[in-house]
Amino acid sequence: MSGHDSKYFSTTKKGEIPELKEELNSQYKDKRKDAVKKVIAAMTVGKDVSSLFTDVVNCMQTENLELKKLVYLYLINYAKSQPDLAILAVNTFVKDSQDPNPLIRALAVRTMGCIRVDKITEYLCDPLQRCLKDDDPYVRKTAAICVAKLYDINAELVEDRGFLEALKDLISDNNPMVVANAVAALAEIQENSTRPIFEITSHTLSKLLTALNECTEWGQVFILDALSKYKAADAREAENIVERVTPRLQHANCAVVLSAVKMILLQMELITSTDVVRNLCKKMAPPLVTLLSAEPEIQYVALRNINLIVQKRPTILAHEIKVFFCKYNDPIYVKMEKLEIMIKLASDRNIDQVLLEFKEYATEVDVDFVRKAVRAIGRCAIKLERAAERCISVLLELIKIKVNYVVQEAIIVIKDIFRRYPNTYESIIATLCESLDTLDEPEAKASMIWIIGEYAERIDNADELLESFLETFPEEPPLVQLQLLTATVKLFLKKPTEGPQQMIQVVLNNATVETDNPDLRDRAYIYWRLLSTDPESAKDVVLAEKPVISDDSNQLDSSLLDELLANIATLSSVYHKPPDAFVTRVKTIQRTEEEDFPDGSEGGYSESPSHAAGASPPPTASSAPYASARQPPAAPAVPAAPAPVPDLLDLGMENNNNAIVPVDQPATPAGPPLPVLLPASTGQGLQICAQLVRRDGQIFYNMLFENNSQIPLDGFMIQFNKNTFGLAAAGPLQVPLLQPRTSASTLLPMVLFQNISPGPPNTLMQVAVKNNQQPVWYFSDNISLLVFFTEEGRMERSAFLETWKSLPDSNEVSIDLPGIVINSVDATLERLAAYNMFFIAKRKHANQEVLYLSAQIPRGIPFLIELTAVIWIPGLKCAIKTPSPEMAPLFFEAIERLLRS
């Protein structure tokens, strides 16, 4: 062991901070250095040592590089909390940036860039300008990154001072590391800017490709990632690029390899020669396989990427399926990913081997893995027609082991196999029925019941089997109940004998009278009516031929796949989501952290999501057969559109503001459109417009959700952060399942005084909205004081005068609103009255109109308002007197907005 720093973590008996202070001011160098180390140690374990700021900064002027670095580290951590004191350090920084030692020059620039204090930033510009042109490449490469740091703090400053041009010059630097860092910085700046800043021309392209050979491994990653944005002009150029990138596939660094693969795959799109493409595929396979001998975490990243690559170009790894066989000691996350890729690579040629593997996995210990292995066998059966029989015999062997969860999983997949190959494998039903008693999972039970119902005519004792389930009908989960209902109807239609007839009566009774599940009830009523009116057409509907299914689960849409492939090696390729699906705006995140807001995202929601979308989940591929009864035969599963049933919710709205408005009706025809709070670009296609409104003495949050994404969204929930008025949702958010390109609006009732934020009043209201498909979205809204003015705010003239007199003059606040013109007193009064500001009196003073009004906010706080203006002349003086003068700024803000619009 080389160091002995752990001693700095030990605490002393005396008060720690005063002692440190003393040591920091010691006359001995060593003691000071030790003290700074102790401070850093304390900082690391989370103690607040910001009070030592001045003392630590005093140690900054030192020749000792180690001590200097420690002080800088301290500065980076605490400058933000002590911006005024941080200025003390500026001189040293500026001086250091001119030090003869390049290490110190670079250190100064690097550290200054990390201190995000405006005043410091101003002083950073001159040193940065010098360092970008420094003789020493080490300083230049540090300065290049510093430009990106500065752009993050103050983009304008970077552009004004011409740093972008300086950075572009560095691309032609003779030092490869400077080039690499400049490329990284420019690529990042470009990503955060809408203007074209860093456009790769064919000239820069060839320069950068040359630099690749001399860069560090990381530099190669920066350059390859930046170049992957380049669109080659034609096949020839693409081939050229690829030729220069392929040697990178042999690099020991996995990031270099993946970035090279990304670049090659992108350029391959343009290459027309099949020979070249085949050759490239051949070259890419070995390096991809080699990634699987890296650390398990890297293997995981590689496997997630390979999953994408085999979807796009299955030939690359078609012969390498063996390398994806799971090792006994692989971590579970590696095994799961390997399994997924094995399914994708399974073919008629290798299926026997693959099945042997799956069978082996199905006997392992980890339950999730075993289940996935069993499911994999089923998916292979659906994918490969010629292998289906072999797959089924493996499944039957597994069922014979009689391990409970294996049996259940097998039954679930066999149901899908029956759907895929109707009238082929029904001979095995008898074997399945033997395991009937062991089924205890809803999905497995439902699958088995579906099988019995579907093949009732071939199972001699189908009625007995179903009857055994019926006893527990009321206790079964909805999934099983629905299936039982349909299966019994099928049985009855196929064998209209006495037994089934009795059964159907029991079931229909249970499913209509004794249930409170609307889905079940609706389906039961439909059957009932069908059966009672026309049993023949009931047969046509219920026993109709079903469309054949295919295994497209886990197959990505081609445009999404292309987007993900352009993001190989990044988070996006690991999550299999486009970047804007999980990257939120930097600023949003900052704010939420300070306020400790995201805590609410997990546990803070009290509202139940099931209210929003109803109890019926949209049918998925595997649950599709269950819904057979209510579908026209050939139609794919379409979830029921949100029914226009506003009256059920009975919110007492007279003006067409139903809580749930169907998509095709315009929401709230009166009034201007709602302000956009979450633009679709931020919300991955989800746009939220909202505004607080007051209706009939109650505050509502009038919200409009627009789904511009590709996927249906459901399970919306909302949460409000603490705010001045303690505004919070009075009930759950009622938003139905939102299909792509549809919208829904809702009025969310609000309550006051729930979570009141301390501090002076402000209008900020932060809102978090989440749904089942996307991350939590945060946005903020401005509360207009107007919505709080109650209907009780009307005052008698005498009461008004009395209140006015009773309040001290210090409670009177006034403001001049120069931009506002009053054109008509009556119109203005009408407008104010609409927001519960009630007219008391008016008088004329010279050519001025003086209006007196009253209003009241909850808890009975009155506002006495005096408005003074000259008709047609811009300028309004507004004075108010209230027991809560701290609310005055909010009032002025609101009234200005009201009268201006």
Binding site: P137, N175, P176, A255, Y575, T592, E594, D596
Partner: protein, 438 residues
Amino acid sequence: MPVAASAIYFLNLRGDVLINRLYRDDVGGNMVDAFRTHIMQTKELGTCPVRQIGGCSFFYMRISNVYIVIVVSSNANVACAFKFVVEAVSLFKSYFGGTFDEDAIRNNFVLIYELLDEILDFGYPQNLSPEILKLYITQEGVRSPFSSKPVDRPVPNATLQVTGAVGWRREGLVYKKNEVFLDIVESVNLLMSSKGSVLRCDVTGKILMKCFLSGMPDLKLGLNDKIGLEKESQIKSRPTKSGKTIELDDVTFHQCVNLTRFNSEKTVSFVPPDGEFELMKYRITEGVNLPFRVLPTIKELGRTRMEVNVKVKSVFGAKMFALGVVVKIPVPKQTAKVNFQVTSGRAKYNPSIDCLVWKIRKFPGQTEPTLSAEVELISTITEKKSWTRPPIQMEFQVPMFTASGLRVRFLKVWEKSGYNTVEWVRYITKAGSYEVRC
């Protein structure tokens, strides 16, 4: 974006912060709490190394008793991030003399902060070569085991070397005796079915190099791989000497190797770093010489007895021998008693891993010792779940044997001073994951 990290945390197993460094302020300081509550304290730990919580993503790796956690909020390059962690750990190890654990971190926290400042700038990895960093980040107590003279002062042109084209070797090295040690280390991975057919088999090999060479030498390595030899005979337009050639599935090289040249001429040429490093890795799946065959027969005799017979055959040359051979034969959890008979080595039952462990210290080639054991099981009433029969695993080392058949044909060293070098080559084959299902 090739950003690797917005923040990096080193945590101990309890979740205490040992080191934290924020590089960007798009993630907050309290993010580590989210990691603790949502990952460390839940079953999620170990289910996936990349997780999203709130607006941030977490990548983590466990190294001995430390978690290294990287936090980002952008679409960061995950491959880059994990590789960075791996490289950083090996850098730290080289600084602290080989160990990386909680104690080592606490004892070197100042040094780690200094290194973290240097190797990652605004989340972008910079030069991580230990050899170069040691030129100017020199904390007390750092021993430089490779260089011939102690480094006490920062070298004046350090900055040029960090950023130079040969960013992994410093100038002006002098050795009295110029020596190169090559170690060819191969791991054989095998998965064999109970019936003896090979399900998967490959060799991952690496060539480790220890260089004690003066100046700036240029090295060229020749192997008996097919493509390299063919290319060579093309260039020299005469056939090379016959002999066994092998086909490498894939090779990856240390950053010192000129990849463009390898691509065009198939020669491995490089300026090596000083001291020890991994020159290349390779993988072979065809024509692997398996050093051992395992032939198990396991019979369950009713509910309380099992009969285990395992024969291990060594199939390498009779003059060679394997060292440290361990055969682990899994038995059910409810094993009560085991009676052994072995023709070589020692066997015992290890209840903590539910295995019969059979050790043979020195295992000559062309022999086939056997183990036969009678296993008595406790009969349990609740016993319903069948035993999952994990595979038999093997560990071994066979010196002077390569499962791939790879041989070093030559290693040429050029340096402008024209000194003579001595080259040493060793071969060893180890067991990777050597599994036989039973």
